[in-house]
């Protein structure tokens, strides 16, 4: 998807804009937490994100994207901060563009904002979480589409990358489904592998080329570990 945007000159502009819109819709949350972490209250942050969203989908913006922008993540944040400062310089109050609510922004309680973390870092973390959630949604879709053993895989999914992933009790799955523990572990292993692939797919969508995938993953992994 990001490849489409950076190659906008080579493809139909409206196609590139559509891609950009789809991506912006998926990734507005990191921008919101970024502003909240910088101290903006909910209303201000959500208005800003909303306004930026409209700004982003103008053709002029597209023309400013060059092929050197290898990551949508950094592009989006740079573009956002530049837009914010322009808004302030022009002494306009942050305002919503057309007034139509386009993004369902729910208020994040202040207590949930971590202390001692830079806004940029929180942006990246939220970004990673968004990627993870998107990949997880894909996995759920795949499991939902299965014709056989759907229950087993749903149960497995809770333990592989869901609420129980901390200390999965494989025997609790093996027993009810009449399977050996080895088979369950193997299935769990396969599921993690599948999930890893789906995560790669998601990352690929927001970087400019295949070669950038590993770098982006490593960056996010290091950030999350730190």
């Amino acid at each position: 998807m990001w490849s489409v945007v950076v190659n906008a000159h080579a493809v139909d502009e409206s196609v590139a804009l559509q891609a950009l819109e789809r991506m912006a819709r998926a990734y507005w949350q990191p921008l919101y937490v970024f502003l909240r972490q910088r101290g903006s209250p909910h209303d201000e942050a959500s208005d800003a994100v909303q306004g930026f969203f409209e700004h982003l989908l103008r053709r002029e913006v597209l023309q400013h994207v060059t092929r050197r922008e290898t990551r949508f993540r950094t592009f989006l944040l740079t573009c956002f901060t530049r837009w914010l400062s322009n808004q302030r310089r022009d002494a306009h109050a942050l305002r919503r563009g057309g007034g139509a609510v386009m993004l369902p922004i729910h208020e994040l309680p202040v207590e949930e904002l971590p202390a001692d973390v830079l806004a940029e870092q929180l942006y990246d973390r939220k970004w990673a979480r968004t990627l993870f959630d998107l990949a997880l949604r894909r996995l759920d879709e795949e499991i939902e589409a299965r014709e056989e053993r759907r229950d087993f895989f749903q149960e497995l999914r809770r333990r592989v990358c869901g609420p129980l992933s901390g200390s999965p009790q494989w025997d609790e799955v093996a027993g009810p489904f009449g399977m050996s523990i080895v088979a369950v572990r193997k299935a769990a292993h396969d599921m993690r592998l599948r999930f890893a692939t789906l995560l790669r797919h998601e990352v690929r969508r927001v970087v400019g080329s295949d070669a950038d995938v590993d770098g982006e993953l490593r960056h996010l992994a290091a950030l999350l570990a730190g």
Binding site: E148, S180, V182, A187, R192, A196, T197, R200, A221
Partner: protein, 725 residues
């Protein structure tokens, strides 16, 4: 939940193809739950992990019942496979389990436990060829490589004959036992789940692309046949001999692009034995039908090479090479084309010298103008090869037509125009294309004085290079006679050009009822040839052949046969690879003469000799070779020489396979004929197997027959009916 772990795993999930000898193998998941060993699985006790790669994990396991140690392989992502895929995997694995060959790791058990398919096989103590290569750090000797390749190719052939494709041949799948014997593993299995599984689409799961054939790289699953395995054998041979992979790149995508686009002649085969290099190139043909027809054929070729014999595969021939080369390097081609026409370089140098002399200035300007015009013309010509400009043209004929069209535009010195046209033949390996000469004659007659020797030289070339069937309303003989007489009257009877013209006339006369006059002329040619044997005006082999025919047609049969025997033997002995087809034609003609003289067995011998020469120097697909082959088949049938006929039919089948490929009805007819002979010899089971084998070659990746198999199926039905089934 450790989010960072998931991101790290996503990095690990990718198998970034490396330049390592194994072509890289997917890293094992460090975190995502390797099994706690030892553990029980499906009646086996898993002891330790032996290997893991993109496709699965192999454990050393103990068969709890039989108390033997085996290797157990679980397919990666198997838990995510659909039921129908598991069923297909089982079916294929069971087929692979039928394979019994000393160089194939036997499969003991194929099973499924809680939705996880697995199979067990013999545990081979030793190392994989990949490990061997990386430990040795240097290529194998050609001899060593050939030994391993012959055995591997035979094993692959064994599987192909039973309808099993390997699909993933690479050093990691070839295990070497303590004695260094290769054992192939993972037949048809590893890739199977992968082929069209909805789940596996990243490079990691596609495995290393280094051994992938273009049809595999392009994802044309249904086009994957035995030829795809032959491709991989070519990659393997290349790697054993050089330690390098033929197609490399930074990323999988780049490698796949190379696999799909890079020409086999672009391969760096320097230092490689010429015959082995030919085999590598042939295996790495983009077009599956151009590759060696089977893995068994490749093994045969390698054995021929090992025994010091001559391989049958011909090098990627000069024409193909030239054509590909021109496409590859247009600028260089332009330079050579100009040099070949002997114009720009020559006149360029002359130009610089002459420019010093004021008196020659006008001449220099004309030459410069010509040189510019020629350059422009060549550039136009080379655009023909260029995809960007609406090309490429694909056949020799099209190139010649296009070239002649371009030359029309040239308005310089007519002698240059003529030289350009006549050099086209040399440039394009089109020596006997009389179209170019005809056009040159037209220009020459328009622009040069009527007694200019160049006109007559060109008229001789145009007339003497006409194809055998051509007779232009009976005007060819008079034309050749006029040309000969002009040379005789203007240059004298002893001039080499007069002798050539005389021989050309005689050559036509022999086959058009003028044998008496022809023999008279040829005696004169012979006398001149004997005077200066070191510099004969006409090719000795060509002359001997036509002289023998002239003798025969004049009723001097025994003399013709005796002359033919002596001189054909000498010609074969002194064969010149450049004109080997002339020697082959001589043998062919001698066979005809022997046959007409009633010496059928001798005729068969000469035909075999002709065939050998054709195959050695021109390749089985050569039209002359095909002609000899059908003649040979007819004679052997008439002789009731069953053993000979069988051998020739087998050769014929190979030739048809190489020339036309298995999907053509001519090849399929040949299969049926060969099968029929087998039936007549009481070898019905072999005949059946032959049909099965050829039908298998016409299967798509999913095992179903391609539409072109209809004819062969029909022939099989006839075969079954004829044998009372």
């Amino acid at each position: 939940m450790c989010l960072a772990c998931f991101f790290n795993e996503a990095v690990e999930a990718e198998d970034t193809p490396s330049e390592s000898v194994d072509g890289g193998s997917a890293r094992v998941f460090s975190r995502a739950g390797p099994l706690p060993l030892p553990c029980e699985f499906a009646g086996y006790r898993l002891l330790r992990e032996i290997a893991s790669g993109g496709m699965g994990v192999v454990y050393e396991a103990e068969d709890s019942e039989l108390k033997r140690t085996v290797a157990l392989k679980m397919i990666r992502l198997a838990a995510f496979a659909r039921q129908d895929e598991i069923t297909r995997f089982r079916a294929e694995a069971e087929m692979a389990a039928q394979l019994e060959h000393p160089n194939i790791v036997p499969i003991h058990d194929v099973g499924e436990s809680d939705g996880i398919p697995f199979f067990t096989m013999r545990l081979v103590a030793g190392m994989s060829l990949a490990q061997r290569l990386s430990e040795a750090g240097e290529p194998l000797s050609p001899h060593e490589a050939a030994i391993i390749m012959v055995k591997t190719a035979r094993a692959v052939q064994h599987a192909h004959a039973r309808g099993v494709l390997h699909r993933d041949l690479k050093p990691g799948n070839i295990l070497l036992d303590e004695r260094g014997e290769p054992h192939l593993t993972d037949f048809g299995l590893a890739k199977l789940l992968d082929d069209d599984s909805m789940l596996t689409r990243t490079t990691a799961q596609l495995g290393t692309p280094h051994y992938m054939s273009p049809e595999q790289a392009a994802g044309r699953v249904r086009q994957i046949t035995t030829a795809s395995d032959v491709w991989a054998l070519g990659v393997l041979l290349h790697q054993l001999l050089t330690l390098r992979l033929p197609f490399t790149g930074e990323s999988s995508a780049e490698i796949m692009r190379q696999v799909t686009d890079a020409s086999p002649v672009a391969l760096d085969l320097r230092g490689m034995n010429a015959d082995l290099a030919t085999l590598v190139q042939r295996c790495l043909e983009k077009e599956p039908s151009k590759r060696p027809p089977s893995a068994g054929f490749l093994a045969d070729e390698l054995e021929r090479w090992q025994n010091g014999g001559t391989i049958l595969s011909r090098p990627v021939d000069a024409w193909e090479r030239g054509f590909r080369w021109v496409r590859r390097n247009k600028a260089l081609a332009a330079a050579v084309a100009l040099t070949a026409s002997g114009l720009v370089v020559g006149s360029g140098v002359a130009l610089w010298q002459r420019q010093q002399a004021v008196a020659a200035r006008d001449q220099a300007r004309r030459e410069l103008k010509d040189a510019e015009a020629v350059t422009g013309l060549m550039v136009e010509m080379l655009k023909v090869f260029d995809d960007q400009h609406g090309g490429p043209v694909t056949t020799k004929d099209e190139i010649v037509t296009e070239f002649l069209k371009q030359v029309e535009a040239f308005e310089g010195d007519p002698r240059r125009q003529i030289a350009l046209i006549t050099s086209t033949g040399t440039l394009l390996e089109q020596e006997d294309n009389s179209r170019c000469y005809e056009r040159a004659v037209e220009i020459a007659q328009r622009t040069l004085p009527p007694d200019d020797p160049q006109i007559w030289y060109l008229r001789w070339r145009a007339a003497s290079t006409k194809p055998g069937s051509y007779n232009r309303d009976g005007r060819l003989i008079p034309e050749l006679r006029t040309v000969y007489e002009w040379h005789r009257d203007h240059l004298g009877l002893d001039d080499p050009q007069t002798i050539r013209a005389m021989e050309s006339l005689a050559r036509r006369l022999v086959v058009t009822g003028g044998e008496v006059e022809a023999l008279g002329l040829l005696e004169k040619v012979r006398a001149v040839m004997e005077q200066r044997p070191e510099d004969p005006p006409v090719s000795r082999v060509k002359f001997d052949n036509i002289y023998m025919q002239a003798l025969f047609r004049n009723g001097r049969h025994e003399e013709a046969l005796s002359f033919g025997r002596t001189n054909c033997r000498r010609a074969v002995h002194e064969i010149n690879p450049e004109v080997s087809h002339e020697t082959a034609r001589f043998c062919h003609m001698l066979a005809k003469v022997s046959h007409e003289f009633g010496q059928t067995a001798e005729a068969v011998r000469h035909l075999r000799q002709a065939l050998d020469i054709y195959w050695k120097f021109e390749g089985p697909a050569n039209p002359g070779a095909m002609e000899v082959l059908s003649y040979l088949l007819a004679l052997e049938e008439a002789l009731h020489d069953d053993a000979g006929l069988l051998a020739t039919q087998r050769d014929a089948l190979r030739a048809f396979d190489m020339a036309l490929g298995p999907s053509r009805s001519e090849t399929q007819q040949q299969v049926a004929k060969y099968a029929q002979t087998l039936v007549e010899l009481g070898r019905v089971a072999e005949a059946d197997a032959l049909f099965t084998q050829w039908l298998d070659r016409l299967r798509g990746g999913d095992g179903t027959l391609v539409p072109q198999a209809a004819k062969l199926e029909q022939l099989l039905a006839e075969h079954l009916k004829a044998t009372g089934r």
